[in-house]
Amino acid sequence: MIHFSEERLSTVWEEAVPLMKEHFEETGDFGIEEFNPDKVQYLETDKLNLSKTFTARTDTDTLVGYSIFFIFPHHHSRERICAVQDALFLQKKHRGIAGVRFISFTDLVLEALGASLIFRPVSTKCDYSRTLSRMNYEHVQNGFMRRI
């Protein structure tokens, strides 16, 4: 059984690094070879409550997934608080219904925290669009990148 919680990024960072590497290997951006997250910036946003971190753990408390959101007033409609997913990862062997429950859990907490819009970018390398569509998410944009 997988259980979910909100935790401080500062307390889970070291534990999460191996999972971050797995995550990067699976969906890292096209053409970018080096995984090099900015720990200082992440921890600063955590400290300022500008981000929220959620974890997925087994019954033995092993970390098997995480999700990070940045929280801020929308630039275009400043009265709306947005939660923008920076990362969502669950180890492959735990995906399926646990993944859906993880998304539902984070949605509930973010709504309770006052978010009125939740944005989730879904990598084309691990496309769970159909799952989100079934969870009342709407497809609003596509993201493109160009490496100079």
Binding site: N36, I118, R120, V122, T124, E138, F144
Partner: protein, 163 residues
Amino acid sequence: MQSALPVAVSAKTAHHFAHERVSEAFCKEVLPLIICHFNETAHFKDIALKPDFEHYITLDQLGFVRLFTARELLGELIGYGVFFVRDNIHYQGSLQATQDLLYIKPSHRGFAFHFITYCDEQLADEGVEVIYQHVPTCNDYASRLLTPQGYEILEHVYVKRFS
């Protein structure tokens, strides 16, 4: 404000592109175009458009914003591209640009390809390694304007709304 870099498309549609600063005067000038942009592409039209101009001005002063404009030769604003430029939090040491807004008045869209090229060149000149563009599903110009310029699809963006 930096000097304008002319880009002649034709004698009839001559216009120029420039890198400008976000100022109070510009915010006042751009508002009618932002309203057109909102009416054309906003997904939730019942959410009031209230751009946080002060925040944009502050970010510009801190060096995080790049504003590119398209103007007719007499100076009328007909389009804009706004990018946030900073080290990517996932790949520190890599300067990256993320498009926040890109809009050209419908009556002047023939040069959008050149405007995107101009924005990309300006960003490349200052050392940006990766440019991200977000394209609304209701006006999918990617196959015409982005993929021919070397852009690849990276992600689909989903949104859930409460209240």
